[in-house]
C-alpha cells in the first residue's frame, strides 16, 4: 500500500516585487507517494523552484494546504519547521552551497550537529555518507579543492546524512558538465531505487527523465495535471 509523502491542495504563492503583484504558483494540486522520483519541469520562471521551496517549508504559501510526511506545515512555527526540516528533508541546491571554510567531512557533519549524536558518531555517519557518494578519499578536502561534480556529491551526502525520507533537489545538475551531471543523476537514481528515498527534483536536464518515475510540468505558475505537458514544450 502506497503512502502519500507530499499532498498539496490549492497551493498558491503570491508576492509583490517592485510594486508588481506576482502569482508565482497558482492552485497547485500534487501528490507524491513514498519511493517516487518526481521531476518538475518547466520553463524558467514557471514556479518550479517556488513549489519546491514551499514543500521544503523554506517559504510560506499565500494560501492552500500543504502536508508533507504527515505534517500540516501551515500550522507549524518557524522553530518547529526548522526541526522538522532537519529530520525529514534533505535539500540539494544548484550551486552546491557548501561552507567554504569547512572540509567535505565537516560540511556533511553540519546537519548532524543539530542531533543528539556524539562527535564520534557524527563523524562516522558523515564518513559513511561521503563513502556512499564515492568521496571517501576527499573527506579532508575543502570545497575549493574539489571539482563541481565532487562538490555536488558532497552536497548530496550532506542532504542524506540525517537519513531523511524526502530529498528535494533544485536543478542539481544545472552547474555541472555532462559527465558530472550524469554521475549526480546516477547517484540520485541509486538513492531512489536502492535506499527508497522519495525524490522531487526540479530540472531542465532532458537526461533526468530516465531516472524519474513521474514527470510533472509547470507553466506560468500552474502545475499541469499528471500526464499534462505544455503544448510548446520540447
Amino acid at each position: 500500500m502506497s503512502e502519500t509523502v507530499i499532498r498539496t491542495h490549492g497551493l498558491t504563492k503570491e508576492f509583490v516585487r517592485d510594486e508588481f503583484h506576482v502569482v508565482a504558483l497558482k492552485d497547485a494540486e500534487m501528490e507524491v507517494q513514498r519511493g517516487e522520483f518526481v521531476e518538475l519541469m518547466g520553463p524558467s520562471g514557471s514556479g518550479k523552484s517556488t513549489l519546491l521551496h514551499l514543500v521544503a517549508a523554506m517559504d510560506r504559501p499565500t494560501r492552500g494546504e500543504l502536508e508533507v510526511m504527515g505534517f500540516k506545515l501551515n500550522g507549524l512555527s518557524d522553530s518547529e519547521i526548522a526541526k522538522w526540516r532537519n529530520r525529514h528533508v534533505g535539500f540539494v541546491f544548484q550551486s552546491f552551497n557548501l561552507i567554504p571554510v569547512l572540509t567535505a567531512l565537516e560540511n556533511v557533519e553540519l546537519p548532524l550537529k543539530l542531533t543528539h549524536l556524539k562527535r564520534g558518531e557524527r563523524v562516522q555517519h558523515a564518513a559513511t555518507a561521503l563513502k556512499l557518494v564515492g568521496l571517501e578519499d576527499r573527506m579532508g578536502h575543502y570545497p575549493r579543492q574539489l571539482s563541481g561534480g565532487q562538490e555536488q556529491r558532497v552536497a548530496i551526502a550532506r542532504a542524506i546524512v540525517t537519513d531523511p525520507d524526502l530529498l528535494l533537489c533544485d536543478e542539481p545538475t544545472g552547474n555541472l558538465d555532462a559527465k558530472s551531471a550524469q554521475e549526480v543523476l546516477t547517484l540520485l537514481g541509486r538513492l531512489n531505487k536502492e535506499y527508497g528515498k522519495t525524490i522531487v527534483m526540479v530540472t531542465h536536464d532532458p537526461h533526468a527523465a530516465h531516472y524519474a518515475t513521474k514527470i510533472r510540468y509547470i507553466d506560468k505558475g500552474e502545475l499541469l495535471p499528471d500526464g499534462g505537458k505544455p503544448e510548446d514544450w520540447n
Binding site: A56, A82, F91, N97, I99, V101, E106, K113
Partner: protein
C-alpha cells in the same frame, strides 16, 4: 562546545581582516587597560603604603602655597593620638640648569631630628643619620636621585633660591632607601632656614607632617586639628598623607572626568571598529546563513553563532591588550616616580575582570545588529543574496 570548531573557522575565514581587527582591539584595550589601572589605583583600590598609614599632613586650607605659623606645631602635638609632628617647608630653587627636567626634584626643609621618626621606612646607616641631624647645612637624598646625579656622601650641592631670597649650600650627609614609596627627594635640615630667616616673618611652615600613634587615630586627628584652627587667620586642611598626595592631581584638572572620558572614547571607538568588521563579515555570509537555515538551524542558533564569533575575536584582542597593558604598567613602575600610585601600577583583578567584560560586551554589541538581521532573513532571500 560542538559549534566551537565552526566558530573558530569562521573567525579565521578572512585572516588578514581578523588579525587587523584583533590588533586594533588589542591596542585600544591596552590603552583602556592602562587608563583603568590608573583610575583604579588612584580612586578605588589604591592603599597607602604600610608606613604611610599613620602619617597625616596639615596644610593651609586655601592652598599649599600659603604658609602656616610655626607655633601650630606645639598645638598639634597636644592633639590626642599624635605621636610626632614635623615641620616641612618646600624650598623650590634651581639645581644647575632648570631647563633640564632631570634636575627637577623636591627640595624640602625638615626637622632633621624628627625625619626618621616620622618616616620610619627610610633606611640609612646610623652614622649618616647622626651626621645629618648634627649638620645645619646637611641633607639626605634618596638612592635613585643619588644614582641619577652621582651624589655621594660628602658631596656639595648648591641650590639657587627662587622662592626664598638665598641659596642653599648643602652637604650630602646620607643616602636613604625606602621600603615603601621611594620618591626623588632631597631633605635638608630646617635649621638652615631658621638661620637664614632669623627674625623674618617668612620663617614658617609649609606643612606639618604628623605621625599618628595608630592608623585608627588618623580620622580623629584630621577632624580635631582642622577644628582647632578653623577660626584662625590660617585655617588648615588636614588629611592622610595618601590623600594629600592625590590632591596634587587636582592641579591637572578633574582627573576622574578626564580618565573616564578617555576610557569612554576608546571604548566607543573600538565598538565602531568592531561593528564595522562584523557587519562586513556577516554580509559576506548571508547566503551561508540561508544554507544553515535550510539544514535546520534555528534563528537563535545562528544569532548565537555569530555573536560567539564576534565575542571570540574581541576576547582574543582583549587578552592581547591586557598583556600589553600589563607590560606598560611594568614600564611605568620602572619610570620616574610621578605619583606614589604609579610605582605599584598593575592590572588588578577587578580591572582585569572589567576589561574581559568590556571585551565580551564589545564583541556582542558590535555584532548584535548584523547577527539579528542575518538570522531573521527570509531563507529564500538569503539564498538569493549576492554581495
Amino acid at each position: 562546545m560542538k559549534y566551537l570548531p565552526l566558530i573558530v573557522k569562521n573567525c579565521l575565514r578572512n585572516r588578514r581582516r581578523s588579525v587587523l581587527t584583533i590588533a586594533s582591539l588589542a591596542i585600544s584595550l591596552c590603552l583602556l587597560g592602562v587608563m583603568m589601572a590608573l583610575y583604579y589605583a588612584l580612586f578605588i583600590g589604591g592603599q597607602p603604603a604600610k608606613a604611610q598609614a599613620r602619617r597625616v599632613v596639615v596644610r593651609h586650607k586655601v592652598s599649599i602655597v600659603f604658609p602656616m605659623p610655626l607655633y601650630y606645631r606645639e598645638k598639634i602635638a597636644q592633639v590626642p593620638g599624635v605621636e610626632e609632628v614635623m615641620v616641612w617647608q618646600w624650598f623650590g630653587g634651581v639645581y644647575k640648569d632648570s631647563r633640564d627636567q632631570r634636575n627637577f626634584f623636591a627640595r624640602l626643609g625638615v626637622e632633621a631630628d624628627k625625619l626618621f621618626k616620622v618616616y620610619q621606612d627610610y633606611q640609612l646607616p646610623d652614622e649618616q643619620k647622626k651626621a645629618f641631624i648634627q649638620d645645619p647645612a646637611g641633607c639626605v637624598v634618596n638612592k635613585a636621585l643619588a644614582e641619577r646625579h652621582g651624589f655621594k656622601v660628602g658631596d656639595k650641592i648648591l641650590i639657587k633660591g627662587d622662592i626664598f631670597p638665598f641659596d642653599l649650600d648643602l652637604t650630602v650627609r646620607g643616602i636613604y632607601t625606602s621600603s615603601d614609596f621611594d620618591d626623588d627627594s632631597l631633605w635638608f635640615n630646617f635649621k638652615y632656614l631658621e638661620n637664614a630667616l632669623r627674625n623674618s616673618s617668612r620663617l614658617s611652615a609649609g606643612t606639618f607632617t604628623i605621625l599618628a600613634k595608630t592608623p585608627e587615630d588618623v580620622p580623629s586627628i584630621c577632624r580635631t586639628v582642622d577644628e582647632m584652627f578653623a577660626n584662625s587667620t590660617a585655617p588648615t586642611k588636614t588629611e592622610s598623607e595618601y590623600a594629600f598626595g592625590l590632591s596634587f592631581l587636582s592641579f591637572l584638572g578633574n582627573i576622574k572626568v578626564i580618565l573616564m572620558s578617555i576610557c569612554g572614547a576608546v571604548t566607543f571607538t573600538i565598538l565602531l571598529i568592531s561593528a564595522n568588521t562584523m557587519a562586513m563579515s556577516v554580509r559576506e555570509r548571508v547566503r551561508e546563513v540561508g544554507v544553515l537555515r535550510t539544514l535546520g538551524f534555528q534563528k537563535s542558533t545562528i544569532l548565537w553563532l555569530i555573536l560567539a564569533e564576534s565575542a571570540l575575536i574581541s576576547l582574543v584582542g582583549g587578552a592581547l591588550g591586557v598583556l600589553i597593558a600589563q607590560g606598560l604598567c611594568a614600564a611605568i613602575r620602572q619610570g620616574p616616580a610621578i605619583l606614589q600610585q604609579t610605582k605599584t601600577l598593575t592590572i588588578e583583578g577587578p580591572v582585569f575582570a572589567a576589561l574581559v567584560g568590556i571585551s565580551m560586551l564589545i564583541g556582542v554589541l558590535s555584532a548584535i545588529v548584523p547577527a539579528w538581521s542575518a538570522s531573521r532573513e527570509n531563507i529564500i532571500d538569503a539564498l538569493r543574496f549576492t554581495d
